[in-house]
C-alpha cells in the first residue's frame, strides 16, 4: 500500500518534514533573525542550556520560521548569565542578561513578535565580542 | 506531391520518398556504396554509414546523406556542388587510405565497387594515407574472409542477420579497427555459418569472396592421367552470358557446353540429368512416407546452405528432410560408378567438377558423410558461374562466336522439370509433376503450378492430386524458412511437402552468380529465362527422361533400391548452435 494515497497525504508529510529541517533552511536566508545564546561554562552553570531549549519550544509553538537559535561561546558577560544576543538584519544587536528559561516566552512574544525591547534586561555592550 | 529543385531543375516527386529516390526519379545521379534495397524480398540495408551520397541542401549547415534524408516541399538540392564533390572525394580517399592497395592481386579486381568509385571520381592522389588496421584472413573451403578490406557497409550483416537470420556476421569492436566479422573473430567453419554465400553476393569489395579452385581444375584438366568430367547446374545457363555483356535472362546453354569442351573437359554433362534422378528418388520417398505414415512434412534437401541451417538451428528436425542427396552429389556418385564402370575407367582416375551458381556447394562437396565411397569424393571441385567465366576469358575464348554445343551422353539428357530446379518453387513443381502421375496414374496436362511461383517469402498451396489434397509450401531465404518451421512446430500449419532454397529467388540468386549489385530485376529475369527453357523442352516430367529410365533398368534397379540407397542417399547431423 503506498504511503501517499492522495495530495492531502503528501501535504501532511510535507508539513511534518518541513518542521524537522526548517532550521537548516532558515540558516541560509539573509533576512533571518539570530538569537545567540552564550554557552560558556558560566552560561551553562546558570541554566543557558535550558534557556536554549525553551527558546526553541517557544519558536515552534508560535510556528515562526525566520528565526534561529544558535549557541556560541562565552560572550564575556559572565556576571549576567544566561545571556542572549538578538541580531536582527539592519538593526544594532541587543544583548539581554539574566535570561533564564522562564523568560524565553517573554523574549519571543515581546521582542520578536511585538517589536518591544525588554528594557530592564538589556546589557550595555562594553566590548566587541571576539569571534 | 512535393515540388523540389534538383540541380537547378524543378521536379515533382512522390510523397514520402528519400532525396536519393527523388534524384533518381528525376533522372539524376549520385553514387552510393552502402545503400542496398531489394524490395522484392523486403531487404533494405540503409545504415547511411559510407557518407558517399552526401548532397548539398540549401539552408542546411552540413551535407545531407541522400539515402536517408526525407524529401520536403521546396527542398533545393545540389548533388555535385563543389562542397559536395569535395566531401565525397575526401570520404572516398579516407576509405582508400585504410584499405589494402593490392587491387592487382585481389579476387575482386574489375568487379569491386570501391575500385569503380575510385575510378569514377578519378582519384589519382591520396593526401590521407596513414596506418592501416590489420586483421587476419579466414580461409574456409567455401568462403574467404579478409576483414582488412571491409568498408563497414553492413550489407553482409543485413543479409546474414535480417534475411537469413543466421547471425554469424556483425560489426565488432569500435573506432578505427571496427569491422564486420564473426563473434570472437572465430573462423567461419567454427560458427553457425551455412555457407549460403549471400554475404559474398552483396559484399562490394574483396572482404568476402568465394574460395576459388580455378588453378586446381586447370591442373586436373592438364593431367593426362585424369579423366575430367564437368556438370552444369540449371541456374548457370541463364546467367553466365551476363559476364560477357549480355542481357540478364539470356539462355546460353549451347555456348556454355562448347566453352566447357573447348576448355578441355573430357566430357560435358548436365546436372539437370541428376535433377531428374533426384526427383525419382525424392518422389518415391514422398509416396512412401504418405502411404506408410512416415515423417511429415517432407523437406527437400538439395540446398546445402539450407541443410546446414536445419542442422544448427532445428536439430530436432533432422529426420524431416528427404534422405536424397542433391543433384550435384548424385551426379558425382553416378559418374564415378555407373559411368566409370560402363567406360572401364577407374573412379580414382576420375575428377568430377561442377559449375554451380552456389557457394555452399563448395562446402557440400567436402561433407565427409556425403560420399558414396571411402576411396574418393563424389564431387572433387566446385566452380562458381563467375569462376567459369574467368576460365573462359583466360583461355581466350570468344563467347560471341562460340557454337551451340550439345551435352554428352548418357548423363546429359534432361527435362523441363529439371531446369526449373534453379529457381524457387522449381523443385516442388518438378516433384509434383511426377508425384501427381504416380499417385493418380493419370497424365498431368497442367504442368505449371502457378500457385507456388513468385517471390513471396513463403508460398503455401493446396494441390489436388486425384482424391488427395497435397499441401505444399515453398520458401526462399532462411529467415522466411525459420518462420515456416516455427509455425509448423507450433502446429499452425499442416503440410506434406516443403521446398526450401536459401538464396533470394532460389539458385538463380546464388552467391556464385554474376553480381547483381542490388538490382533484383536481374534475378527475376534469370527466373523467367528458366521458365522459358522449361517450356521449350520436349519432355517436361522427370520420370519420362529416357536416360533416367535406362539408368534404373541397367544399373540401379528401381528407386530406393539398395544400390540407389547406397549411392544416392545421405544422412544429416545434429549440430550445436554455437
Amino acid at each position: 500500500m503506498p504511503i501517499v494515497k492522495s495530495v492531502a497525504d503528501l501535504m501532511k508529510i510535507k508539513e511534518q518534514a518541513k518542521e524537522k529541517i526548517q532550521v537548516r533552511k532558515t540558516a541560509d536566508s539573509e533576512s533571518k533573525v539570530v538569537l545567540k545564546v552564550a554557552m560558556g561554562t558560566c552560561g551553562i552553570a546558570s541554566g543557558a542550556k535550558e534557556t536554549f531549549s525553551a527558546l526553541i519550544e517557544e519558536i515552534d509553538k508560535r510556528k515562526l520560521n525566520n528565526i534561529i537559535v544558535v549557541q556560541t561561546g562565552c560572550m564575556g558577560y559572565c556576571h549576567s548569565e544566561p545571556t542572549i544576543e538578538v541580531i536582527e538584519p539592519g538593526k544594532d544587536s541587543i544583548i539581554y542578561g539574566k535570561m533564564t528559561k522562564d523568560r524565553a516566552g517573554e523574549l519571543i512574544q515581546k521582542h520578536i513578535i511585538d517589536g518591544e525591547l525588554l528594557q530592564d534586561s538589556i546589557i550595555g555592550k562594553t566590548h566587541q565580542v571576539a569571534k | 506531391m512535393p515540388n523540389v529543385i534538383i540541380n537547378d531543375i524543378k521536379v515533382e516527386v512522390p510523397e514520402n520518398v528519400t532525396v536519393l529516390e527523388a534524384i533518381r526519379l528525376s533522372g539524376g545521379y549520385v553514387p552510393t556504396l552502402c545503400h542496398m534495397k531489394l524490395d522484392d524480398i523486403k531487404i533494405e540495408n540503409n545504415p547511411a554509414s559510407c557518407r558517399i551520397c552526401m548532397v548539398e541542401v540549401a539552408g542546411r549547415r552540413n551535407l545531407a546523406p541522400a539515402c536517408v534524408t526525407p524529401i520536403a516541399e521546396g527542398m533545393v538540392i545540389k548533388t555535385h556542388s563543389k562542397k559536395a564533390v569535395n566531401a565525397r572525394r575526401t570520404v572516398l580517399q579516407l576509405l582508400l587510405s585504410n584499405h589494402p592497395q593490392d587491387c592487382l592481386k585481389c579476387a575482386k579486381n574489375g568487379q569491386c565497387e570501391l575500385q569503380d568509385l575510385a575510378s569514377e571520381l578519378f582519384i589519382t592522389t591520396n593526401p590521407y594515407m596513414g596506418n592501416k588496421s590489420t586483421h587476419k584472413k579466414d580461409v574456409s573451403a567455401a568462403i574467404i574472409r579478409d576483414p582488412s578490406k571491409c568498408i563497414m557497409c553492413r550489407k553482409c550483416e543485413t543479409m546474414c542477420n535480417s534475411f537469413q537470420t543466421v547471425g554469424v556476421l556483425s560489426a565488432v569492436d569500435r573506432a578505427f579497427d571496427a569491422v564486420v566479422k564473426p563473434t570472437f573473430d572465430l573462423p567461419l567453419e567454427q560458427t553457425n555459418c551455412t555457407f549460403c554465400g549471400q554475404c559474398v553476393a552483396v559484399c562490394p569489395t574483396g572482404a568476402l569472396v568465394a574460395h576459388t579452385y580455378i588453378d586446381e581444375v586447370w591442373q586436373e584438366i592438364d593431367n593426362p592421367k585424369k579423366h575430367v568430367v564437368v556438370q552444369t547446374a540449371p541456374a548457370v545457363r541463364v546467367a553466365i552470358a551476363e559476364e560477357f555483356g549480355y542481357e540478364p535472362g539470356t539462355i546460353s546453354t549451347g555456348k556454355l557446353v562448347s566453352a566447357l569442351r573447348a576448355l578441355g573437359f573430357d566430357k560435358v554433362f548436365d546436372t539437370d540429368f541428376a535433377a531428374d534422378l533426384t526427383i525419382m528418388e525424392e518422389a518415391t520417398e514422398f509416396l512412401d512416407r504418405i502411404k506408410n505414415g512416415g515423417y511429415m512434412p517432407m523437406l527437400t534437401s538439395c540446398c546445402p546452405g539450407w541443410v546446414k541451417f536445419l542442422e544448427h538451428q532445428f536439430p530436432s528436425l533432422v529426420e524431416m528432410p528427404s534422405s536424397a542427396k542433391s543433384p550435384q552429389q548424385m551426379f558425382g556418385a553416378i559418374a564415378k560408378s555407373f559411368y566409370a564402370e560402363k567406360n572401364n575407367i577407374d573412379p580414382k582416375d576420375m575428377t568430377v567438377v561442377s559449375i554451380m551458381p552456389c557457394i555452399a556447394k563448395k562446402y557440400e562437396a567436402g561433407r565427409p558423410e556425403i560420399n558414396s565411397s571411402d576411396e574418393y569424393k563424389d564431387v572433387d571441385y566446385v566452380l562458381t558461374t563467375r569462376e567459369l567465366a574467368r576460365m573462359i576469358k583466360e583461355a581466350g575464348l570468344n563467347f560471341d562466336t562460340l557454337p551451340e554445343g550439345q551435352y554428352d551422353s548418357p548423363l546429359g539428357e534432361s527435362t523441363g522439370a529439371a531446369v526449373i530446379f534453379g529457381r524457387t518453387g522449381g523443385v516442388a513443381e518438378a516433384a509434383l509433376r511426377t508425384a501427381y502421375e504416380w499417385i493418380t496414374g493419370k497424365n498431368l496436362e497442367a504442368v505449371e503450378f502457378e500457385a507456388i511461383r513468385g517471390y513471396e517469402g513463403v508460398r503455401v498451396a493446396e494441390v489436388k492430386v486425384g482424391e488427395r489434397t497435397v499441401r505444399v509450401a515453398v520458401s526462399h531465404g532462411l529467415g522466411n524458412t525459420r518462420k515456416l518451421l516455427e509455425d509448423i512446430q507450433a502446429g499452425k500449419l499442416q503440410l506434406h511437402l516443403i521446398e526450401v532454397m536459401a538464396c533470394p529467388g532460389g539458385c538463380v540468386g546464388g552467391g556464385g552468380q554474376p553480381f547483381h549489385h542490388g538490382n533484383f530485376d536481374i534475378i527475376k529475369k534469370r527466373t523467367e529465362a528458366l521458365n522459358r527453357a522449361d517450356r521449350n523442352m520436349p519432355i517436361r516430367k522427370s520420370h519420362e527422361n529416357p536416360a533416367i529410365k535406362a539408368l534404373y533398368e541397367e544399373y540401379l534397379g528401381k528407386p530406393a533400391s539398395e544400390k540407389a540407397h547406397h549411392l544416392l542417399h545421405t544422412h544429416y547431423l545434429e549440430r550445436e548452435w554455437l
Partner: protein, 597 residues
C-alpha cells in the same frame, strides 16, 4: 526524541567520499554518542556542495559555519569546541585567497555569492537518501500540482513558456520536444533520462544523481504525464556506482511512498522507471545510440529523422532529456515560467551548472544564471588562476567544444554566444588553461578521446579522426610540414560536414578552434620545431648551462636514464640522445643551471 538543536551536514558526494567523508561521519556519530549528544545534534549526509577543491566539507547549522578540508582527526575538535562550547574552529574555516580573510558563512563566500542554485537546490542541503527531506523542500509538490490541477497541455505550455532548453548539450527547447512527442501517435510512449555523462571532467549530472535523485524522478514523472508515457528509463553510466546506488534507493522509496507505480497519489496516472547501466561507451550518450543500447543492440547512432520524439525506443515516441534538464522541471512548475524567465538571458533563460576544472583555484561545481560572463565565473567564483599563472584559454563543452582565449572573457555565456565563438555549451564542462598549457597538445588530447570512443560506423569519424590524430602526432613530435596545418582544417571541416552523429560532427572542434585562436603555436611546432609552452616532449630540450653548473651531481643522480655525465665540481652535460625529457633534472637543480627550451 527531542528536537534537534544543531545539524552537522557532511558532504557525501563522490569527491568528498573518496577523501574520507565516510570516516568523518562515523567519527562524528561515535563522538556524539560518547558525549551523549545524539538526540540533540543530527548528522546528515548530503549530496555534493560543489566546492570540491576544498573538500571534505562539513557544514554546521543553524549558525551556518562552513568548514573545509576536514579530516577525521578534526572531528574531536569540532565536537568539543564548536558543538559543546559554541566556539568555531578557526583553522578549519575557508580562507579567501585574495583578501586572506576567513569566511564562515557560505553565502558570503565568493564561490557561492553569485551562484543561483536551482538544479543544485537540494545538493548539500538534504540527505538524498531521505525522501521526506525532499518532500519538505517542496518535493513531489510539483507532480501533485501537475496531476491534480493541470492538464497535459497546461504542463506543456508552462515548460514551453519558460524557454527551458536542453542542458545535455543540444540546447533544444524542451517544451517543443515534449510537444512533438505528445502529438506523435503511438500506443506506448517513453521517457528516458540520459545520465550517461560521458564528457571527461564533467560531473554535474553525477552530483545531481548523488545529491538529489528524487528531483530527476519527479521531473521524469511530470514529463511522462505531459506526453502520455507509461514507462521511463534512466540510462546511467556504470562508472557512477554511488549515483546508481542513491538512485535505486530513491526509486524504491518513491515506489513505497506511491510516487511511482499505479495510480500515483490517487490519480489515474501510472508510471514507473527502470534503471539501465551503460557499458563504457561515450557514444551511448548520443540519443539514438542510447536508445539502441537499451534495445539490446550495438550502441551505434542512426540517422535522424526519424527523431526519437516520433520514433524512438522500440520505434515508439520517446523523449530523452538530460539529468539537469529534468531536475529543473519541478521548480518551473511550482514557481512558474515567468519566474524562470527572469533568470538568464532571453534566448537562454534559467541557470546552468558548470564543472570548473583545470588551472583554477576553486575547482568544483557552480550553478550560475545564463548571461554571466566568463570573467565572473573564472575570477570571482573560480577564484582566479592557480599559482598566479597567466590565463590562456578556457575550454567549454568537452571534446565537442572549443577553446576560448582571453579577449572573449567578457562574453555573456549562453548557448548561441558560445557557438559563435567556435565552441559550445555542451554539458557544462569548463576546463581552464594557463600559460603552461600547449594548445596543440590540448587538441591532441581531446582527439585521442574521440578517436577511441568513435563507434566506427561512419567513414569520416572512423577513419578521418584517426588521420587527424596522425597529423597532430607528427606536429607534436616535430615531424610535420606547413601543409599539414591546411590538411587539418580541410579534413576537419569535411568531417564536420559529413559525419553521421554529434560525436563525429563536433570532434574536430578543439582542433579548429585552437588553430583559429592559437595558430602561432601550431606554426612554432611545425616550422621552428618548438613547443612554446614547453609541453610536447619531443620538442623540449633540457640543457645545462656550464657557467652556472657547480657540479653538485644532483641532476645526474636523479636522472632515470643516466643521461647526465660529469665529475664532481665540474660542469655536467646532458646526452640529448638518451634524454627522455622527464624534467626531473630541471626540477632538482637548485642553481638554475638547467634551462628548458
Amino acid at each position: 526524541m527531542g528536537k534537534y538543536k544543531q545539524f552537522i551536514l557532511i558532504c557525501g558526494g563522490t569527491g568528498c567520499s573518496s577523501s574520507g567523508s565516510g570516516d568523518i561521519i562515523d567519527s562524528f556519530n561515535k563522538a556524539l554518542e560518547e558525549k551523549g549528544l545524539k538526540d540533540e545534534v543530527q548528522i546528515v549526509r548530503t549530496g555534493c556542495f560543489g566546492f570540491c577543491e576544498q573538500g571534505p566539507i562539513v557544514k554546521v547549522l543553524p549558525d551556518d559555519t562552513f568548514y573545509v578540508k576536514v579530516t577525521e582527526k578534526d572531528v574531536e575538535n569540532i565536537v568539543n569546541e564548536h558543538i559543546i562550547k559554541g566556539r568555531r574552529v578557526q583553522r578549519l574555516l575557508y580562507v579567501e585567497p585574495s583578501e586572506k580573510e576567513k569566511i564562515e558563512e557560505y553565502i558570503k563566500m565568493p564561490f557561492y555569492k553569485k551562484q543561483i542554485r536551482v538544479v543544485l537546490r537540494n545538493a548539500g542541503a538534504i540527505n538524498p537518501e531521505n525522501v521526506e527531506e525532499y518532500i519538505a523542500n517542496d518535493g513531489y509538490s510539483a507532480l501533485a500540482k501537475a496531476l491534480t490541477e493541470m492538464s497535459q497541455d497546461d504542463v506543456l505550455k508552462s515548460i514551453s513558456d519558460s524557454g527551458l532548453r536542453g542542458r545535455g548539450g543540444g540546447g533544444f527547447p524542451t517544451g517543443m520536444k515534449w510537444s512533438f512527442a505528445k502529438r506523435a501517435k503511438g500506443d506506448k510512449k517513453y521517457i528516458i533520462c540520459n545520465a550517461d555523462e560521458g564528457d571527461p571532467g564533467a560531473f554535474m549530472d553525477r552530483s545531481v544523481m548523488e545529491g538529489d535523485p528524487h528531483s530527476v524522478i519527479e521531473g521524469m514523472s511530470i514529463a511522462a504525464y505531459a506526453i502520455g508515457a507509461q514507462k521511463g528509463y534512466v540510462y546511467i553510466r556504470a562508472e557512477y556506482p554511488l549515483a546508481v546506488q542513491r538512485l535505486r534507493k530513491a526509486l524504491n522509496d518513491a515506489r513505497e511512498y506511491g510516487f511511482l507505480g499505479e495510480n500515483v497519489m490517487g490519480t489515474n496516472f501510472s508510471f514507473d522507471i527502470e534503471v539501465r547501466l551503460g557499458a563504457g561507451a561515450f557514444v551511448c550518450g548520443e540519443e539514438t545510440a542510447l536508445i539502441h543500447s537499451i534495445e539490446g543492440k550495438r550502441g551505434e547512432p542512426t540517422s535522424k529523422p526519424p527523431f526519437p520524439a516520433n520514433s524512438g525506443l522500440w520505434k515508439k515516441p520517446t523523449v530523452i532529456n538530460n539529468v539537469e534538464t529534468l531536475a529543473q522541471i519541478p521548480v518551473i512548475l511550482l514557481k512558474g515560467a515567468d519566474w524562470f524567465r527572469k533568470l538568464g538571458t532571453e534566448k537562454s533563460p534559467g541557470t546552468k551548472v558548470f564543472a570548473l576544472a583545470g588551472a583554477i583555484n576553486n575547482v568544483g561545481l557552480v550553478e550560475v544564471p545564463m548571461g554571466i560572463t566568463l570573467r565572473e565565473i573564472l575570477y570571482e567564483i573560480g577564484g582566479g588562476i592557480r599559482n598566479n599563472k597567466q590565463f590562456k584559454a578556457v575550454q567549454t563543452g568537452g571534446p565537442s567544444g572549443g577553446c576560448i582565449p582571453a579577449k572573449y572573457l567578457d562574453t555573456p555565456i549562453d548557448f548561441d554566444n558560445l557557438i559563435a565563438l567556435g565552441s559550445m555549451m555542451g554539458s557544462g564542462g569548463m576546463i581552464v588553461m594557463d600559460e603552461d598549457t600547449c594548445m596543440v597538445d590540448v587538441s591532441k588530447f581531446y582527439l585521442e578521446f574521440t578517436v577511441d570512443e568513435s563507434c566506427g560506423k561512419c567513414t569520416p569519424c572512423r577513419i578521418g579522426n584517426y588521420r587527424l590524430h596522425e597529423v597532430l602526432e607528427r606536429i607534436t613530435s616535430g615531424r610535420a610540414v606547413i601543409e599539414d596545418l591546411d590538411k587539418l582544417e580541410q579534413l576537419g571541416n569535411v568531417i564536420k560536414d559529413t559525419a553521421l552523429c554529434g560525436l563525429g560532427q563536433t570532434s574536430p572542434n578543439p582542433i579548429l578552434s585552437t588553430i583559429n585562436y592559437f595558430r602561432d603555436e601550431y606554426v612554432a611546432h611545425i616550422q621552428d620545431k618548438k613547443c612554446p609552452a614547453g609541453v610536447c616532449k619531443n620538442l623540449i630540450r633540457y640543457d645545462i648551462n656550464p657557467a652556472k653548473c657547480v657540479g653538485c651531481t644532483a641532476c645526474a643522480r636523479v636522472c632515470p636514464v643516466q643521461a647526465i655525465t660529469g665529475t664532481v665540481k665540474k660542469a655536467h652535460v646532458i646526452d640529448q640522445d638518451k634524454c627522455i625529457k622527464c624534467g626531473a633534472c630541471y626540477a632538482t637543480c637548485r642553481f638554475g643551471a638547467i634551462s628548458k627550451i
